[in-house]
């Protein structure tokens, strides 16, 4: 054992996990707290998107499709996010010629393409930073954050075991003693107050990316065909593009039908292989997105 006894070993573990992963955890939790207000930060950083309430009825065929065809006629997909209470603009996202995700905003009242500020803002920078550190190569960012998340769980459990007099320590604050003493008292207080939140925040962060950490489990049940898992679990649908061109059917009509079928307002339409005879449209409902 690294320490002399059970509690001393966990104390050693608590110290070293904290020293090694504390900085990374701070970056993730801090950006995560900011991301709660990501749309508001977007409005602040992208002044031209500060518009009034969006019109209740808007036509994607008329407002968005011409812009999409002009900007991204050959792109493999267009993602159109409808305006909401917090985002008064239509967002058009597509991979550009180099395959890099590009975003443009459209005024839902006039259909005017808003100027590109050249900023990723909070939804483009902070949010992906929060869950991937923008290190997409071989999912390095996801793995680093997986290590940090497991480390946080270790810190929580070992912390509770070390501080066995948890009730007494909870009511202890000695600001007149050394700064280190007072800081430790605050560490105990905030740690215990938010313990269930800390635990669930870390665990749910890990579970969201289970497919990155446990591809082996999927492979074991769906040998050689992991895509079948996504199809069954999430209802994903995919098909290849043909080389035959075709005109896109009306998005407004699809949106109306989706609204009827889902009983909920769609928030996003993603057009796969636009302009191709094998094109299809993915419609997402907004129940979990506010």
């Amino acid at each position: 054992m690294p320490g002399n006894g059970f509690r001393a070993s966990l104390s050693w573990l608590h110290t070293w996990t904290g020293v090694l992963l504390g900085g990374l955890l701070l970056a993730v939790f801090w950006s995560g707290s900011l991301v709660v207000f990501d749309r508001e930060i977007d409005r602040w950083m992208l002044p031209s998107t500060r518009l009034g309430s969006p019109p209740v009825d808007l036509s994607l065929d008329r407002l968005v499709v011409p812009h999409a065809q002009r900007l991204a006629g050959t792109a493999a997909r267009w993602s159109i996010t409808l305006p909401s209470e917090r985002t008064p603009v239509i967002q058009l996202e597509f991979p550009n010629a180099e395959g890099v995700s590009t975003r443009r905003f459209i005024d839902p009242a006039s259909g005017e393409l808003l100027p590109d500020h050249g900023s990723w803002a909070a939804t483009g920078f902070l949010f992906p930073f929060h869950y991937s550190l923008h290190l997409r190569w071989r999912n390095v960012g996801y793995w680093l954050l997986g290590i940090a998340g497991m480390g946080m769980l270790l810190l929580l459990v070992s912390g509770v075991v070390i501080h066995r007099k948890i009730i007494r320590e909870f009511f202890t604050f000695r600001p007149h003693k050394s700064t280190q003493r007072a800081t430790l008292d605050l560490h105990n207080l905030t740690g215990v107050v938010a313990l269930p939140f800390h635990f669930l925040i870390s665990l749910s962060g890990l579970i969201i990316f289970f497919a990155i950490y446990f591809p082996t489990v999927i492979e074991r049940i769906y040998p050689g065909n992991p895509a079948a898992f996504s199809t069954e679990a999430f209802g994903n649908y995919t098909r290849q593009a043909s080389t035959e061109p075709a005109t896109l059917a009306s998005l407004d009509a699809m949106r109306d039908r989706a609204r009827e079928a889902l009983g909920d307002e769609p928030y996003m339409l993603r057009i796969w292989h636009p302009g191709d005879a094998q094109a299809y449209v993915e419609v997402r409902r907004s129940f979990a997105r506010r």
Partner: protein, 116 residues
């Protein structure tokens, strides 16, 4: 003088052994613990499908969520188990149990009923 030097050498040797054993423990806990977790999660997913008849994707999701808790337990245990050999033995047993399922008598049973 002579005995002091000898004592110093012994001390040095003990430090070295302590560090080596700690390094092995960290490696076994983090690396071996993850390998064991993946094995146990895979085995659970397989058993959920084959013994309870759960749908494949449900079994995968349950097993993966369980995996994080298993890994947490193994990591904690790795740092408090006094005997390092017991830790290594149990991790190896966990991995072996999954291999036994994969290549043992249950391997022939179909994994997913009616799904293609």
């Amino acid at each position: 003088m002579h005995s002091a030097a000898k004592q110093g050498r012994q001390q040095h040797q003990m430090d070295w052994r302590h560090h080596a054993s700690l390094a092995l423990r960290v490696l076994a806990g983090i690396g071996g613990g993850f390998a064991c977790t993946v094995a146990l999660a895979s085995a659970s997913a397989r058993l959920l499908v084959q013994l309870i008849g759960l749908a494949g994707h449900e079994a995968v999701l349950i097993a993966c969520m369980l995996g994080f808790v298993i890994y947490l337990g193994l990591l904690l245990w790795a740092f408090v188990e006094p005997r390092l050999w017991r830790l290594c033995l149990l991790l190896l047993l966990g991995i072996a149990s999954d291999l036994a399922l994969q290549f043992g008598p249950l391997a022939a049973r179909p994994l997913i009923a009616g799904a293609g």
